[in-house]
Symmetry: C2
Subunit: 476 residues, 2 copies
């Protein structure tokens, strides 16, 4: 007797029929109406031929109808895939072709032309429904289906989000109901989501960072408010009007909001301060974040500790658990883990070998048992039989008082294959020596990881925020 998200909506409808579930522009959907709308939508989807395992692409911006589509899809065992409409036409074409949807719910306003331009990427029999002019009449036309709920399987994929894979092609991560349910419970446990919450869906819903808070608010019985895309003034206006208690907002938006609201025109006082826990390590393939930092009892590891019912290990390249202090790949088990990548059996098998989800992210367990996330595993230095992750050595060197910036690279070595070189930007007036930096490393990480040569420089070449290792002239 597992429950679906529609069951959850029914519970809220039984308790609070006139409570507002979803707000989107002029649409205000109360719980009692939401249940009826989703039942009709499920009926309409059945009539269109949707069956278990079918992909339903959402080619629109943030909207309450995406949530209705998710609830109806779960009822039918289908999978919803929100498209990243900000991608290039080529990228969107790749994703549409790869997803191979039975049905596309698309948006005419603002992004309609972009979407229609790539329509040819889907099969000819794919059904296209414009949510901003055909959707509501569809709900009116179809009686709800009689479907048994007793056979619901929460391990079946429900949400597909595309993420960068490691062969250059995006891959659709298939998130089952169990993952989204656990994330919703985490939202209640670690972010305090409750029935009096009003959450502004300002981040894009093709990203797991927004979606997990949406579902937490939904399961807790709060109100989800949707804004098509992030615009500082519009965000301020909606927070004021709807008395939003939380929102997914990035620093640039927050700065623009502060700037635009200097005259205090909008009342943003409904937003609640952050609570006791902050997010630690997460991934699309985990449906969101799975480790949390308790700020009242701060752990040594920057990513904190796993939430309940999650296993995390740090393993070497043979899958053996490493002792605390050693950097290795972060691997995860538990209900949060996706079922795999859409139509990528080899990638799925490779990333789920030994019964663990391999994150391809580098981490370390600290002495207190908490986890530090170091970064993507990408680069590795091979020195004799040892694997050295430059990220780990950089993180260590960065804590030295004379170091302003640092890049660690591997340089060819006739004896060891490669050895570690530190390229350092010193803080003003400082002039760290190799011996000094080696001592610093030896006290903190395994001795074989310490740099064996040192280059001092004025600045490191960068691409955006990231160091451009190619341009350092020393490839790893």
């Amino acid at each position: 007797m597992e429950l679906t998200f529609l069951d959850v909506a029914e519970e809220h409808a039984a308790q609070n029929p006139h409570g507002t579930a979803l707000v989107c522009g002029d649409n205000r959907i109360v719980w009692a109406d939401l249940v009826g709308r989703v039942e009709h939508l499920a009926g309409a989807l059945m009539v269109k031929g949707v069956v278990v395992g079918d992909r339903l692409v959402w080619a629109g911006q943030n909207c309450h109808r995406l949530i209705e589509l998710l609830l109806a899809a779960e009822r039918l065992g289908a999978i919803v895939c929100p498209l990243n409409w900000r991608q290039s036409a080529d990228e969107v074409r790749f994703v549409l072709k790869d997803a191979d949807p039975r049905l596309v719910v698309w948006q005419r306003a603002e992004i309609g032309e972009t979407v229609l331009a790539v329509r040819g990427a889907t099969a000819p029999e794919t059904v296209w429904i414009a949510h901003d002019d055909e959707y509501e009449s569809l709900l009116l036309s179809t009686p709800p289906p009689e479907l048994s709920r007793t056979l619901y399987d929460r391990s079946r994929p429900l949400l597909m989000l595309y993420t960068a894979a490691f062969d250059g092609r995006p891959a659709g991560s298939l998130l089952p109901g169990r993952s989204l349910q656990l994330q919703a419970l985490y939202g209640m446990l670690f972010a305090g989501a409750g029935r009096d919450d009003v959450y502004l869906n300002a981040g894009p819903l093709f990203h797991v960072g927004t979606f997990k808070a949406t579902l937490a608010t939904f399961v807790a019985g709060g109100t989800n408010v949707f804004v098509r895309r992030v615009e500082a003034e519009e965000v301020c206006r909606i927070i004021d009007t709807e008395r939003c208690t939380g929102a997914f907002l990035q620093p640039p938006t927050l700065a623009a909001m502060a700037d635009g609201n200097r005259d205090g025109r909008y009342d943003l006082s409904s937003l609640r301060p952050k609570g006791r826990y902050r997010s630690g390590f997460g991934q699309t393939e985990l449906g969101g974040v799975v480790t949390f930092v308790d700020t009242e009892s701060p752990p040594a590891g920057s990513a904190g500790r796993p939430g309940p019912l999650i296993r995390v290990e740090i393993v070497d390249e043979n899958g053996r658990a490493l002792r605390s202090g050693d950097a290795g790949e972060i691997v995860v088990r538990g209900p949060a883990v996706h079922t795999g990548y859409h139509r990528r059996p080899e990638l799925t098998a490779q990333r789920q070998r030994d019964g663990w989800h391999h994150t391809a992210d580098l981490g370390r367990r600290e002495a207190d048992g908490s986890i530090t996330f170091l970064g993507p595993m990408g680069r590795m230095i091979k020195s004799a039989a040892e694997n050295i992750y430059p990220l780990e050595v950089e993180a260590c060197l960065r804590t030295h008082p004379a170091v302003a910036d640092v890049a660690v690279v591997g340089v060819p070595d006739p004896t060891w294959g490669q050895t570690v070189r530190a390229v350092i930007v010193p803080v003003d007036g400082a002039r760290p020596t190799l011996a000094e930096l080696q001592d610093h490393c030896r006290a903190r990480i395994a001795s074989y990881k310490k740099p064996t040569s040192l280059v001092l420089t004025d600045a490191l070449p960068r691409k955006g925020n990231a160091i451009d290792y190619e341009a350092t002239g020393l490839r790893t």
Copy 2:
């Protein structure tokens, strides 16, 4: 990728290997040792022939080994049944025969004679292991088995607790991993269980009220402390020594503790005050409590609101949902619900008809959507086509200022079959009239439920706390 409780123990062992998981007398089991012990125990059980679905009876008092048995059983797909050793020999014999266990882990100390006296109730091939002298050597003798964990099914029964059924025979309620996991998450969400908790298992572990807090503490990474049975002084001593933060204690024990510790000999200051939520409605068949009262925002209904991922309805005898204000049977859906009663297919089908677990408890949804629990459905008055639950009418009359005590019974009526009679003990000096009480009822519950006759009396006959309806001379 669902997790077992042993996986959870492994996560705690990875984070906090020397942290104390279980304390029982002189035994202190740290997380790292617990994992190894359970793996060995699972191996020993395999050698004894335990397979999926087998029942393993725990015929002992509270002990850390019961938790180890549960973890090992989950690994093998077996079911643990803690016996109520306080029952009469006949009751224990019935339960032992009904459970039909592959293996009994029994306790020689204190209750050994009682247990041995009923040994004949099990099949001759049943394996009996005395936990207080054979268990530890068993762990030493057996290497841990190689078992795949990827096929773990959290819908499989794991814990069997006997509960009163409605045909006079106790029935074994089969609780799956999903129910116990949800209860553990509820313990974190609503009781604030955390990794620094030290929970004293003072209530009996054959009762779901203790078990759910044990598992919450376990999943949160806290310490469980076991005491064989409740004795006020021993409880005080352990709270002092172990710095317990919580305990399952009933009012008589609390009174005895306060009495025995008047000189402040024991420091009980580690016990934490109750938090924001208090328990609402629960049942063995739900693995514990599924509704919670938010004391910071008190609901109208005494049982509060369902926790996340739980559906509750109030239904009439045809399974139709009732409007708020009408009393009916409380029915529940969700992961908390048991899989059914051991070897009672008809009872299981009857109690799970229409896809809902029928609690046989009477409740009402209030205007704010919250739930009131009125009591067991037992008695019903049939008046024409209407069903009237005396409990509901009694609860209403009890709120009248002139009423000190009340019993509502059905009396034969030539026109209606039965009509409602109120037997009232007035408060000192008051003399309520029938018309007055009828007005009171009409304003609060459906008019047809009001009493049509009134008897005033000095006291109601009781059996213990319950009214003895038989002795009122008026059967329902």
